[in-house]
Symmetry: C2
């Protein structure tokens, strides 16, 4: 009898849990949104994750429930917990990943360094915030945003008018100062229900059009003090918010050397894909270990440098079948990961990892393999 | 549409192809001997690999057929090839892995260094060989042996009488000189149908009771000359026998410094499990790449030393479920691989890999994780 881990959501994060689950002897079962999704091989159910009956039926056959995404509604999560199901991360943690206003308020209570922010219920409140912060700001819908969606840089309250018009009564938007950052970092931490923690080295992420494009691990040129500060922030959030499983904290490094929290994700995260081939324990294995309350694995890198390059789908008329050989031929040392998705311009369909002693060489190899998909 | 690779046999070797298949986007399908086997997750068919109709139905839905074991009969393999199915390794190569007398004769033609040997049809012929080789020898049944089965060290022909009695007319046994070896090595090579080759570093294997117990990669203290000789032998056999996919060559290193071929395997092999976590491209990924005629991956180690320790099942009354946490707790840097098999004394149920800069430390860690399964 194997330990059964149920993953809600059939995307690439669930897919990438399959490999370590097989090796660890975990019986992984996926509730997919549809047939033919990325995690198809382990999909034992297809249905709507917002439907309590569907989720309940799925949860009845597993030892622990975890997630490919953070969109399962609070009432569904809380019903599972009331049923006695082990849910990791649990609803009390996930609400802070589901609502950015709740997240900002909780980080303020914890005194975690973050950008100046405000809850704004109308254009007047937003304009006052902008006036007090150099005339510009970042407006975010508290819920449902991802990969740059639900995020808008504005220099006048009027630019968010449509979002205010769409708000339900009592709801509000989040506005944050436009942080003068020199680069973006990400800190990952794994936490077990028993409280054990393991932090990964802080990495540098490069975004293009609001989507993570490249990651370098560890973040080049980061000094011991900043690395320790990032790890401290990761630990504090994991503990303060009661996160179980993998936590990713996206960070700004500012011109004046501060580190501020940008976003959170309570699951394996794009900024941690490098660890599949660059750390002793990859984030997908670590997530499974953490949610199943198994001893956590060593998070140390296996090489001085690891890089990850996302593969964004090229023209929709060409399949992935012809492109994988080209990528493998371009770089025999590149680790190619595909998501089983039909390519579409701008869609993440895979990524390439390379680890090595020379950063420029690793980047060159990873980029040449990734370029073969274009 | 993904490339479909069909694996005949549902054991742990097929199981360990699942992880790299998912990442590379290969649609892996397994013809398992039974329900609930190691490769269950990818089993799309259950049936007898000796039955042509069963194998034909399975092969009809895949782009290439490969194997978890070498036991598919020649007539079944040849019928598939006649049907136009891509079979890797093909029957002309596999016959040398299926029959040790054929293998010895072919290696003699290729002038590959090997122990003195003879085909012996009766006790008289065997006794003459023993008399000419110091009175002792290793008698082997040409077919069906594995993990020490079908192998017997004898000092008199009478000790093989039962095997001679069981021979069909025209059949014979293989006898080999008892090689005075100082240690056992193994050389792995991957070969594509197009002819491209990639050799792994030669490793040292430690056998206990005829079963591979530990592997150290690369083989400690091997000099450049011997490493090159092992790689040369591997290449020569892969080319000379027309092997496609992974080839493992088990070798004796003799007191006088020679390297002699002991056994062959035309599939991923226990001596190559270290590469899952210790090489840029693990043997299971490499096997898939080779049989699908995709560009081969980098075979270099990711650390100065890698070790692999087999986990032999302890008492049958305890499940694996309790033991995995103990193994993970014993060594956070150990990579634990389980085969989804019920433990039974002496049965291989998993293995542990550790890579690192210090060999003694790596061995200590791997052994402590493996010991947690006892």
């Amino acid at each position: 009898m194997a330990l059964r881990v149920g993953v809600i959501g059939g995307g690439q994060l669930a897919r990438m849990m399959i490999a370590p689950a097989v090796e660890l002897g975990i019986d992984i079962r996926v509730l997919a949104e549809d047939q033919g999704m990325s995690a198809q091989l382990a999909a034992t159910a297809v249905g709507d994750y917002r439907d309590l009956d569907t989720v309940r039926r799925f949860a009845a056959d597993v030892d622990v429930v975890t997630f490919d995404h953070e969109h399962v509604p609070q009432d569904v999560l809380r019903a599972l917990v009331a049923d006695g199901v082990a849910v990791h991360p649990g609803p009390d943690a996930l609400r802070f990943a589901q609502d950015k206003l709740d997240m900002r308020a909780r980080l303020a209570e914890l005194d975690v360094p973050q950008p100046e922010w405000a809850r704004v219920a109308d254009a007047g409140e937003l304009q006052r915030f902008l006036d007090a912060h150099g005339g510009r700001g970042v407006v975010k819908t508290p819920r449902g945003g991802y990969d740059g969606k639900g995020v808008r840089v504005v220099s006048a309250a009027a630019e968010a008018e449509d979002w205010f018009a769409g708000l339900a009564g009592g709801d509000a938007l989040l506005v944050e100062e436009l942080v003068p950052f020199v680069r973006e970092l990400a800190q990952q931490v794994a936490r077990r229900p028993s409280g054990d923690l393991a932090a990964y080295p802080v990495v540098e992420t490069v975004q293009r059009d609001g989507v993570c494009a490249e990651v370098v691990a560890p973040a080049p040129g980061v000094d011991a003090e900043h690395a320790a500060e990032a790890a401290r922030i990761g630990r504090e959030i994991a503990e303060g918010l009661g996160v179980t499983g993998m936590l990713a904290v996206e960070l700004f490094q500012t011109e004046d050397g501060r580190i501020l929290v940008n976003e959170l994700a309570m699951r394996p995260h794009n900024s941690g894909h490098w660890s599949q081939d660059g750390a002793v324990t990859g984030q997908f294995e670590q997530h499974l270990r953490a949610v199943a309350d198994l001893p956590l694995g060593d998070t140390r890198p296996i090489a001085p440098w690891s890089v990850m390059i996302n593969v964004l789908g090229g023209p929709a008329d060409a399949g992935m079948l012809d492109r994988v050989p080209a990528a493998l031929a371009a770089s025999p040392g590149a680790k190619v990961h595909t998501y089983g998705k039909a390519p579409r311009p701008g869609r993440k369909v895979g990524h390439v990892n390379v680890a090595g002693a020379d950063l420029e060489e690793a980047l060159r190899r990873a980029r040449s393999a990734a370029a073969a998909f274009d």
